[in-house]
């Protein structure tokens, strides 16, 4: 940092200080009356001085360049030196002093504040060619007393500004890393016949070490993986990315879960940092029969809720990356129609509340037992955890994957409409015809409005009303849920800046509009959106029956949907 003062002239903060690279200190001397240059001990810096005149050269001034290196003994000397000093009185073995002499500096005044040299006032010979008088020295001494703290303040402000810029850069990089990491997670969960998959991924920091994936195998089966890297944040995210890539590539050639884990472990051991490892669970499911092979590398045992109640799929093995040659036993089970499976990381079971108690397995198991379906289970877990933790911040990454095998096969229908205003009614009516037999009247009406609003958003905003761009609608029906996907060529949901507030609207402080997405989110059980290539897809899920907690108390009025 620097300040430059020409006596009787102006004060200049040198913008060169914004440079990242430390550079030598410089000052103006020669026939310019005086110069103050700031320097931070321990950090060599360059200072550009300017005298009373706009251009030093025009006044016969000489710009001098004095680097004061961090190890220069001059800094120690100046720290205790009182007032103005003849350059001849400075330690001659100092490289900076030598350079000052070469450049005509006659007298220097150290700028010291809080015992620290923050700059140097360097002057050339007087214009009158007489020596500096006692009054001159007193004036310079006074000037130094005022200038030093001001200069230090400026230095601190610049230092803080630089640190703020650095923090901002790191935050931007983390945001990019988060986007990249999100690409590793499935943007859309695959269709598994009559199955329904729900998932939630919430890192404790911007990026995390948890991961999950659903990989469709060539023979029609699906490999489900869930993993958790020790630690969190950037180191965990880097190991997560590497492990995920190894799992994906291994699954191309090997589908036996134990063998997948064995191969990935052997590839990971040589490259994983010391003291880090990865827990990982692999399930290979045949959606048609429910037959499931699984193997486990130290991950939490998944819960299975079946006719016999809630059990755990027991399988144990060494976490990945710890020991070469580890082997993983394969187990088999059948997930029956109606069964619900939960894969979860320890971010949920090991979350503490304010008293230090952990959420634990018991609460997790109880949620599995009580949930109506996968979406409901994920929602209950997140809500239950938030209520349990209270003010305690999230301690670890959280991943939940719920697999619900439906009671029957899924039925699919797709159609398109042109992006013409008013066609949202056609979408609504066609969807209503398809799903009417599956939904009670109140849920049907709620879904119709949500579909209409979503289609209108796709027509007006996603496709910008261009009639040549179609809006595609896909309807999937199972015994448990209806999903309606509306896709357009836009970049995402048009979210209002503010949540609609009727008081504000009536007071004229919000536009009367802006209800669309607000209504959609409150009318159906779940709203998700994703980008798939050049398409933006909004998926609405409406269960054929409300979750148990949403069942109306007789004989009250029916409840339509719940807030996702």
């Amino acid at each position: 940092m620097t300040g430059t003062v020409g006596l009787g002239s102006e004060f200049v903060l040198d913008s060169d200080e914004t440079r990242d690279e430390p550079t030598p200190a410089a000052a103006v001397a020669g026939r310019t009356p005086a110069t103050v240059a700031g320097s931070t001990p321990g950090r060599g810096r360059r200072y550009r001085g300017r005298g009373a005149e706009p251009e030093p050269e025009a006044a016969g001034a000489t710009v001098i360049d004095v680097r004061i290196d961090p190890g220069d003994p001059l800094l120690v000397f100046l720290q205790t030196a009182p007032g103005p000093l003849e350059v001849g009185a400075l330690p001659a073995y100092s490289p900076a002093v030598r350079r000052m002499k070469e450049q005509g500096v006659a007298i220097v005044v150290p700028l010291v504040t809080s015992g620290e040299v923050v700059g140097l006032l360097a002057l050339g010979a007087r214009r009158s060619e007489r020596g500096y008088s006692r009054d001159d020295r007193r004036l310079l001494d006074n000037l130094a007393r005022y200038a030093a703290p001001a200069l230090r303040l400026g230095q601190l402000m610049r230092q803080q500004a630089k640190q703020a810029r650095e923090r901002e850069r790191i935050e931007q990089e983390l945001q990019v890393a988060q986007l990249i990491q999100q690409q590793f997670l499935p943007s859309q969960l695959p269709e598994l016949g009559g199955w329904h998959v729900a998932a939630c991924y919430r890192p404790a920091r911007t990026v995390g070490g948890d991961f999950y994936d659903l990989i469709e195998l060539a023979d029609g089966r699906v490999m489900v993986v869930a993993g958790d890297v020790t630690d969190k944040g950037v180191p965990a995210a880097l190991v997560m990315a590497s492990t995920h890539a190894l799992l994906r590539s291994t699954a191309l050639s090997v589908t036996a879960p134990g063998e997948v884990l064995r191969l990935v472990n052997d590839l990971l051991v040589p490259q994983i940092p010391l003291h880090m490892f990865v827990t990982c669970l692999v399930l290979v499911i045949d959606p048609a029969t429910g037959r499931t092979q699984f193997a486990n590398a130290g991950h939490n045992l998944p819960y299975l809720r079946g006719r016999a109640g809630v059990t755990q799929l027991a399988a144990r093995g060494m976490p990945l990356g710890l020991m070469p040659g580890s082997r993983y036993d394969e187990h088999e089970t059948v997930i029956e129609p109606g069964d619900l499976v939960l894969l979860y990381s320890d971010g949920i079971t090991e979350q503490h509340d304010a008293s230090g108690e952990m959420f634990g397995f018991g609460r997790t198991e109880a949620l599995v037992a009580a949930s109506a379906n996968g979406d409901d289970l994920v929602d209950r877990c997140m809500a239950g955890l938030a209520e349990f933790a209270g003010e305690v911040e999230q301690e670890d990454d959280i991943t939940l994957v719920a697999l619900h095998r439906g009671m029957g096969e899924a039925r699919h229908d797709t159609f398109t409409v042109a992006s013409v205003a008013g066609n949202e009614r056609e979408v609504m009516d066609r969807v209503a015809v398809l799903v009417a037999p599956d939904l009670p009247a109140d849920r049907l009406e709620a879904l119709k409005t949500a579909v209409s609003e979503t289609a209108m958003n796709a027509i007006e905003h996603g496709n910008r009303g261009r009639s040549d761009l179609p809006v595609e609608v896909a309807v999937r029906r199972t015994a448990e849920a209806i999903t309606v996907e509306v896709s357009d060529f836009g970049r995402g949901l048009q979210r209002e800046a503010d949540v609609p507030d009727l008081d504000l609207k009536l007071a004229g402080l919000q536009t009367a509009r802006g209800w669309g997405l607000f209504l959609v989110e409150r009318l159906v059980d779940r709203v998700e959106d994703a980008i798939d290539g050049d398409r933006h897809i909004v998926r609405l899920t409406m269960h054929t029956a409300p979750a148990a907690d949403d069942q109306p108390d007789e004989p009250g009025p029916p409840t339509e949907g719940k807030r996702p």
Binding site: L502, K505, L506, A512, R513, W515, G516, L519, P557
Partner: protein
């Protein structure tokens, strides 16, 4: 089917019998309907939704606009004939905090 209305006055109440759908095409009609009700000496504007088959978010915004005008003129607004579904929408948008919902139809 676009929106149409009939005005009927009963004592201090101006009844606007709405028919059709309340969406973007209803802008002028709903404005006209309120203006007609405002020309009477009514202190209450009753919106009769019995023959309304569809209301979307743009329609909700129009109703908010009508409610704002009525309140600024010191008139109460009442809704009659809303289906259970649209009653629910009036509840989640909090229109029901400002508009008395009267049943039966």
């Amino acid at each position: 089917m676009s929106l149409s209305y009939e005005l009927d006055q009963r004592g201090p109440t101006a009844i606007l019998r709405l028919r059709g759908q309340i969406d973007r095409d209803a802008v002028g009609v709903l404005d006209d309907a309120y203006a007609a009700a405002a020309r009477t000496a009514a202190t209450v504007v009753e919106l009769d939704f019995n023959a309304v088959e569809y209301i979307n978010s743009t329609g909700i915004a129009l109703i908010v606009g009508l409610l704002g005008k009525a309140r600024s003129h010191g008139r109460a607004v009442r809704a009659r004939g809303l289906t259970d579904h649209y009653q629910h929408i009036f509840e989640i948008t909090r229109l029901s905090d400002f508009i008395e919902i009267v049943q039966p139809v």
